[in-house]
């Protein structure tokens, strides 16, 4: 007899998505189709643009949630299967539980977004439908698969407890379908930004060029990494929330460990993220240099100062979390002496990173400065300085991690001294390479300077891989100075984890505004003009308000999901 729970769970999921779909179709057929034909319609009070912006952003944030968490869950479950440690399996399960509700919210926001686009921007939707209608079949099939696997993955946990391999296959399929779904939707969004395969009047010449347009792959890769990062930080925030509300030491220990694991995955994905961002930026320049200049040197250039501050919060917060966490590890005291110098390095680099090239100054102030750029700060405002600062920040964070990793270990291998010396030399050399190219960049033309960032990135990646590899062998069978005392971490560290999750969401909102704003007065860049009377490119100040509001709404929903998770766990305990 089939496990009824599994079957009922899957049917429940399908029913939910079908109801949302039916409501959407009914609304479109009864409401939208009865309205007189026009290019644009107005959304009351907020205006069409703001309404679409907020709903699209919320949909994307939840989509990142339902895509990021399964990646996290499958990795954790796999580790649990290999190490036979039940806490990993429990962690994966706890998070999958949150997925079903998050998935419903994602689908509701997706349906509202679709409805609003059809209702408010009919001319734009008609055009997109003409180009991309074949993809809608795939989209529906992928949504169906995503629902089935999400619910199957959760509800078959007990049934397949003895067949972990098969359960992992479901998890992997869930990720494959989810990622394919995202890739498909990315083709629509990236087409708006960097259209291909159409004439300058918008006539379709080659579907595949429109589908796999210029920025499609860079966005795909960037979003996959960003989703892992997002998933990790959200898990950490959930753990922090549960840690702070925990009643017993056992619970605290569990959620402290969960917070650490989530943060570790978040940071691991955060480190390669800037490199994926570079690639995307490069492709934007390659597609349309003007768009690239608008992004980096035009109206959006100041956005990168805010971005720098937000990423700085992520890195400083992560380092701080590592350092506070070391207090609960016996034997970690020997590394405390390095923290002050690392903190100074971090702050100096952050200060350089957030230095604008051109200051907002009045004429009188500009005259006092004596030039368009401040004589000292202007030097730090260019890419050479910023790339150097970012790479040094990454190296410093990596060093924090290495200290954390070996905090309660004492090496026993006979080549330990040589190994550590080699690690130090690698660190020193790589830092020197990064600084050398940073300084040399001032003496060469811009086009050569841009190429230097590749050498800097490669050097840092080399350090990450080689030092970690040496470290693994160096501390194999190491003598332990004590166990990590999970749960004995001050509450302030947990607030940092929540801050990191909020910062990631703000960052996603900011970059979403950039990606859409880059099109400026176009629905589809250079193909379809935005002729709506209220069309404008929102200022950075206004955008930051909308992003903050969206972030607040998102976290209100997330808090509700967390509360549901807590409630269901309590019920399970009671049962």
């Amino acid at each position: 007899m089939v496990d009824k729970k599994v079957f009922k769970g899957v049917v429940k999921g399908l029913l939910k998505i079908s109801i949302i779909f039916i409501i959407l179709v009914v609304f479109i057929l009864l409401f939208v189709k009865s309205l007189p034909e026009t290019d644009y319609r107005e959304f009351p009070l907020l205006g069409s643009r703001i309404a679409i912006w907020i709903i699209a952003q919320l949909h994307l944030l939840f989509a990142a949630f339902v895509l990021g968490i399964p990646i996290f869950a499958v990795i954790t479950e796999f580790i649990g299967m290999r190490t036979k440690d039940a806490k990993y399996d429990n962690l994966a399960r706890e998070f999958t539980k949150l997925l079903s509700f998050a998935f419903t919210i994602t689908a509701i926001f997706g349906a509202i977004l679709f409805f609003l686009i059809v209702l408010l921007y009919p001319k734009f939707f008609d055009y997109m439908e003409k180009i991309f209608s074949p993809t809608f079949y795939l989209y529906c099939a992928l949504i169906f698969g995503e629902v089935v696997y999400t619910y199957l993955y959760y509800y078959s946990w007990d049934t397949l407890s003895q067949k972990k391999g098969l359960h992992l296959v479901i998890g992997i399929l869930l990720n494959v379908f989810g990622t394919a779904l995202m890739f498909l939707a990315n083709s629509w969004a990236t087409f708006m930004m960097s259209p291909g395969g159409v004439t300058d009047k918008g006539k379709l010449l080659n579907f595949w060029s429109a589908f796999m347009n210029h920025t499609w792959w860079p966005i795909n890769i960037h979003r996959v990494i960003a989703n892992i990062c997002f998933g990790g930080f959200i898990v950490a925030a959930y753990a922090a929330y549960r840690f702070l509300s925990a009643k017993t030491q056992e619970e605290k220990a569990h959620y402290d460990w969960m917070g650490y694991t989530g943060n570790f995955i978040g940071v691991s994905a955060l480190i390669p993220l800037p490199f994926a961002g570079y690639w995307l930026g490069r492709e934007i320049y390659a597609f349309n240099e003007q768009m690239g200049i608008v992004m980096m040197g035009g109206i959006f250039s100041w956005l990168f100062i805010i971005q720098a501050i937000l990423i700085a919060v992520l890195f400083i917060g992560t380092n701080y979390y590592f350092w506070v966490g070391m207090n609960r590890i016996a034997g970690a005291k020997r590394f405390v002496k390095y923290q002050l110098s690392m903190l100074i390095i971090l702050f100096v680099c952050v200060a350089i990173w957030m230095t604008p090239h051109t200051l907002v100054a009045s004429l009188a102030e500009a005259r006092k400065i004596g030039a368009a750029h401040h004589p000292l700060l202007g030097v730090f405002g260019i890419m050479s300085a910023k790339n150097t600062a970012v790479n040094i920040i990454i190296l410093t964070t990596f060093l924090s991690f290495i200290f954390y990793r070996r905090a309660n270990k004492i090496d026993v291998v006979n080549w330990a001294k040589t190994g550590k010396l080699i690690q130090s030399i690698i660190f020193g050399l790589v830092a020197a390479v990064v600084i050398f190219f940073g300084v040399y960049g001032y003496f060469v033309p811009a086009i050569t300077r841009i190429g230097f960032s590749v050498y800097q990135v490669l050097a840092v990646l080399f350090a990450l891989v080689s030092v970690t590899t040496i470290d693994i062998f160096l501390f194999r069978r190491a003598k332990k100075t004590g166990e990590i005392e999970w749960g004995k971490i001050p509450p302030r560290s947990q607030y940092v984890l929540i801050l990191l999750a909020v910062t990631v969401v703000l960052l996603m909102g900011l970059m979403g505004y950039l990606r859409s704003g880059l099109r400026q007065e176009w629905h589809i860049y250079t193909i379809m003009h935005d002729t709506h009377p209220g069309a404008y490119t929102p200022t950075l100040g206004f955008a930051s308000q909308i992003i903050s509001i969206t972030c607040l709404i998102f976290f209100s929903f997330v808090a509700f999901i967390f509360w549901l998770g807590e409630k269901s766990k309590k019920n399970n305990y009671e049962k």
Binding site: M1, V2, D3, V6, F7, V10, S133, P134, T135, Y137, L138, C140, A141, L142, F144, G145, V148, Y149, L152, S156, T159, L160, K163, L166, V169, I170, L173, F177, G197, L204, L205, N206, F207, W208, S209
Partner: protein, 157 residues
């Protein structure tokens, strides 16, 4: 039995996806064939060996004639440059070796000498062709340019 149903549930979305993939592929419109512009070559095809003919084609295809004139005869204006015109290429063999010429093409000439030092920069300069021309193209192009020297000039030498 329990897992058999689960296995079937696993397979259903895959089958539906394959079906959708089939519909998707059948709905994708055939690409509109690209319009192929006929290649137009200016001037008379040189009656010389194959290498020089290839160079003549490259000279036309890459648009060198826009600035240096048909068959390198020049006469194209570049205000405020020395002489007010872009240098013709017919006598290039008198001033450069083939290797020097190759270097010149690859590097381009960013700063064009001005007739009036206080006047504006000449609007046209020679772009660098490094990374644009293949080694073979560069070789045949410079071979062609070296062959442009008029016969009487060759005999004078």
């Amino acid at each position: 039995m329990k897992t058999k149903i689960i296995e079937i549930l696993i397979l259903i979305p895959i089958l539906i996806l394959i079906l959708a993939l089939g519909v998707f592929l059948s709905k994708v419109p055939e690409p509109v064939p690209e319009l192929k512009m006929p290649k137009i070559y200016f001037g008379e095809q040189p009656k010389a060996d194959e290498k020089i003919v290839k160079g003549w084609k490259i000279y036309n295809e890459k648009g060198c004639f826009f600035c240096h004139g048909i068959e390198g005869k020049g006469d194209i204006k570049n205000p405020n440059s020395k002489g007010g015109k872009i240098s013709p290429l017919q006598l290039v063999a008198e001033g450069y070796t083939k290797e020097e010429l190759k270097g010149l093409i690859l590097r381009g000439t960013r700063d064009i000498a001005k007739e009036n030092k206080n006047g504006p920069n000449p609007p046209i300069n020679m772009p660098a062709w490094k990374g644009v021309l293949s080694n073979e193209e560069l070789d045949v192009l410079s071979e062609y340019l070296m062959s442009l020297i008029p016969k009487e000039k060759k005999e004078e030498w």
